[in-house]
Amino acid sequence: MTETLTSERYLQMLRQGAARLEAHRTAINDLNVFPIPDGDTGDNMHMTLCGGTAAPATGGLGETARAASQGMLLGARGNSGVILSRFFAGIAKGLDGVRTADPQAFCLALDEGVRSAYGAVSDPVEGTMLTVLREGVAHAEGATYEAAFKAMIEEMKASLDRTPELLPVLKDAGVVDSGGAGVLCIMEGMLDALEGRLSEASAPAVATSRPAADLDRFGPDSELTFGYCTEFLLRLQTAKVGDPEQFDVTQVREWLDRVGESVVCFREGSIVKVHVHTRTPGDILSHAQRWGEFLTVKIENMTLQHSGVTIRNPFSPTRAVEAATPVAAAPEEPFTQRQRRYAVVAVASGEGLIQAFRDAGVEEVIEGGQTMNPSAADFLAAFDRAQAGTLFVFPNNSNILLTARQAASLYDKAEVIVLPSKDVGAGYLAAASVDRSCKDPAGIRTAAEAAIASAVTVHVSRANRNARMDGVTVHEGDFIAYGHDRILCACARRHEAALQAVQALSIADHDVALVFRGQDPPAEEAEQLVSELQARCPRTEVILSEGGQPIHDYIITLC
């Protein structure tokens, strides 16, 4: 029976939570409201949680909980991931300064976690993982951890079963809330750890449904464009720095800021955790060795991480020289001297769509979307690459909006304005409208918000199960068109679904229709669709773009 929680045991619980989540992530992905194969809640929550499991188990429980929550904040993907990271950040806040905790203290920290999770969203919705967390945590009590977790999990199960009653959209789809299922799974995994049922620790690299890195992307003649993502744990050595507990990690962070990008650096006891993007990882490692010795080192060529995306070189020649220069001689280049006034950062998937955003003047395109949510750390790296005084960020997906806002709240090198673009069509429209000659960022923001508000987007996708939603009967294999979070129609033919949907949304009332062809429909079919739309609505300009996006055969935005 566990009556006192240590940092080691807490990390073990987190890892076991991640392991159990990994085992169930596909089932959680499938708890998707819309009957199309784009659910990714399991993936997002798992990758977020794994961001925290690498925290060092040194120092007290409070320090470990804080380190784990920092990792999760950076690794957060999707709305469920952001809420999860905030939940654990609240727990860390509740455990601040303690070396160990009894069940009562931990339950109070769980309460803090719930408050923090609710604070992550401006308009909390009941019937989601927030409800499951709140109702479960309210029942977490007992003389031992096992008892408290069992009581909490029991209530979470009941709460999860009630989610369809609270959210009609879940009931219509015949599913429970996927985020709620995810937190239940995590808590069950944490209980497994408490009761000694341990399995091999989960690691994000094997858990993601992202494609494996394509090693051919960096060949014998390739140029090092993006540098290396370099991470290590450094054990401070008394012989080198004196008392590790007195070591000021600020000097390491400031040095990394000068020689690299996207720096994360913190000390837990005698261990320093470092994450940095650099062209010369060898220099970084050699320099770091003056303070200690390595426990783990991970170096990845970021060209492989950016598979399929064309991103401007983040390392200017000046920057590269600096990184290679001995630190003592490296002049600090003020960030402002490298800046442009504005830059636009957008999220998109599909070769054509990514290119369309770049053609529209977007400085940084983060590859991602409904089934591949970027993390807060991905946003932070893009913010660094953009190097502007004011950044306008278009997440282009309601499930990425919170992550973008979380990244913005963590970034202090520029003003970051996150625009509420919930689909790629509205985001493209608004991003292409950004007037860089405008002196007032507020003016750009207002114009972008107006462009987003004026856009109506229809998505056409193939259904992967039978369903009855919004008064529409869907058969597996049908093509469904949906917009404004509701299904507009289901048809056996793809282009018929598109035609019916835009008619339902009064295409003739709009001046322009942007049609992005996905990766599946043939070009002739898309051209035929555009001709028919143009013929039916001669006053509406119908513009066809090669989107190449997955999942959505057509994305049609009316404006």
Partner: protein, 291 residues
């Protein structure tokens, strides 16, 4: 004798120039470091092929003529005892005419008795085409050079030009339009509407969303500012967008009557290098140009 000159930036082709006896000064453009002089050594230009290259991503540049080019054009005429009337595109848009002034200063020393008459159409492409045509008609009918200059001083500002572009990247590169928003609006059906100002410069009048809507805006300008439009030529110019041009003509004739005679012109490649393909514009007699 009086020798008439105009330049290719007025959209005059060798065929139209021959109607009036104009000599044509070719204004150059460059692609990938190679400079081209429209109609030098040939009479027909393949507009579609040129604009297709722009659609394919080519971004041409243009350059001013040097004073030696003007010496080569004008000196033989002065040497033969002829005076010159040159109806040209807007001097406010180029350094070309500073070269011309230097050349004329040299020639004035050499041929002090010869006269040079210059008429600035304060425009480029179709409005210059329209004014040059109107003057050509009058010169053909016997108007003298002095009378032509006096007519132009009074009438040039009464010919207006409005047009829209499809892709701002060409204008952004040239920097020749005032007040143009730095957006990529063309990709989303948002087109800038531009006019030729009284100062002879291109100025933005804002943007219009939608192809039909932007053409309706052009029709509205004719409604608001047109004056005796049927008593003068009415020109639609386009950068390889004949279908749009015909659609606009239909809208104009629907509004102003089928007796509105419209002449279609394809925009010369030098000016087209700044506008890009798929743009359409109108030039007509008006109550006056906007500021």
């Amino acid at each position: 004798m009086l020798t008439l000159f105009t330049d290719t930036d007025t959209d005059f082709t060798p065929r139209v120039a021959a109607e009036y006896g104009f000599k044509l000064i070719s204004m150059p453009y460059s692609i990938d470091g190679e400079t081209f002089f429209p109609y030098q050594g040939y009479d027909e230009f393949d507009f579609h092929a040129f604009y297709d290259r722009l659609r394919g991503g080519v971004l041409p540049t243009t350059s001013a003529l040097g004073e030696d080019a003007y010496l080569r054009c004008f000196e033989p005429e002065f040497a033969a005892g002829n005076d010159i009337l040159y109806i040209h595109f807007s001097a406010a848009m180029t350094m070309t005419f500073q070269s011309m002034d230097k050349a004329l200063a040299i020639l004035k020393e050499k041929y002090p008795e010869r006269k040079f008459y210059g008429i600035d159409t304060k425009g480029i492409t179709i409005v210059s085409y329209l004014i040059t045509r109107e003057l050509g008609d009058r010169l053909k009918a016997g108007m003298s050079a002095e009378e032509a200059v006096a007519w132009a001083a009074k009438e040039v500002d009464n010919f207006s030009q409005y047009f829209f572009a499809d892709d701002l990247k060409f204008f952004r590169r040239s920097g020749r339009v005032g007040g143009l928003a730095a957006t990529m609006g063309g990709l989303i059906g948002l087109r800038p509407v531009i006019h030729m100002s009284q100062a002879g410069k291109m100025e933005s009048l804002g943007t219009v969303k939608g192809r039909v809507q932007v053409m309706e805006r052009l029709v509205k300008y004719v409604e608001d500012y047109g004056d005796e439009i049927k008593a003068h030529r009415f020109i639609i110019g386009h950068t390889d967008a004949p279908e749009l041009a015909r659609q606009l003509a239909g809208m104009l004739q629907e509004r102003f009557g089928t007796d509105l005679e419209i002449e279609f012109v394809c925009t010369n490649p030098t000016a087209g290098s700044h506008c890009g393909p798929n743009g359409v514009g109108i030039a007509f007699h008006s109550k006056g140009r906007l500021q």
